[in-house]
Amino acid sequence: MLEKTGVPTPAQVEAVKPSPERLTEGPVVIVECFQEIPCDPCYTACKRGGFLPFADINDLPRMDFAKCNGCGICIGACPGLAVFVVDETYAEDKALLMIPWEFLPVPEEGNMVKGLNREGDVLADVEVKKVRSAGSHNQTSILTLIVPKKYAHDIRSIRVD
């Protein structure tokens, strides 16, 4: 499916998800990288050992979720924009979701935007909690969204109307 449409299968998505226990402990990274390509900046960006060492630059990222604190530094480092951070502890029925964003307009904190799934369909109206730059040499923005908890693992983009 991914190789025909660009949309990963539910099984692929499930396989890279942290354990339910880890998700209850606070913000944690989710890396939706399913194809072995020659690329390793996620591993070199993380100074906490959250990514296990690459034996080969073509390896898929493998995680030590216990070492990840959900800082999101790897989001802006990933050339494939395939890294997200989810915090399911934010509220009873809301989760925080960090996504990379490289379009205009860059929403402002407090804006309501449309939350899109991996196929670009609108799932919910979501609030932009925080907007930060991925770094002084990197024009990618990192958005923190307040999303319905049931969609924390489905919303992966936004549309600013």
Binding site: E102, F103, L104, V106, Q139
Partner: protein, 106 residues
């Protein structure tokens, strides 16, 4: 049609200048390719095929394909996708093969 704002890029444009396209005054930026200025002004047909006179536009943008050849300041077969625009240029649709030193329209 020009990009006004871009999430990643800032465009360094030259001085705004004017030139003529088949006798009409058009504005562009100094140093950009002639074809880019024409495209921004909405001109998509740059030349015609020799035998069947089919409209031809921009194609390769690297000066290889000759689809954008026009007559510039009287010189035929100028590759407008790579030729920098200058103030006051006379850009014309070329008929046929073009003649060096010939009269406009030949």
């Amino acid at each position: 049609m020009r990009i006004q704002v871009h999430p990643i890029l800032e465009f360094k444009k030259g001085k705004k200048i004017s030139f003529t396209y088949d006798g009409i005054t058009v504005e562009g930026y100094e140093g950009e390719p002639i074809a880019a200025a024409l495209h921004a002004a909405g001109v998509r047909v740059l030349s015609h095929s020799r035998n069947f006179k089919r409209p031809r536009g921009f194609w390769c943008a690297i000066g290889n394909c000759s689809s954008c050849n026009m007559r510039v300041n009287g010189i035929p077969n100028v590759r407008t996708c790579v030729e920098p625009l200058q103030d006051g240029m006379t850009v014309e649709t070329q008929q046929g093969r073009g003649v060096i030193g010939g009269v406009p329209g030949e």
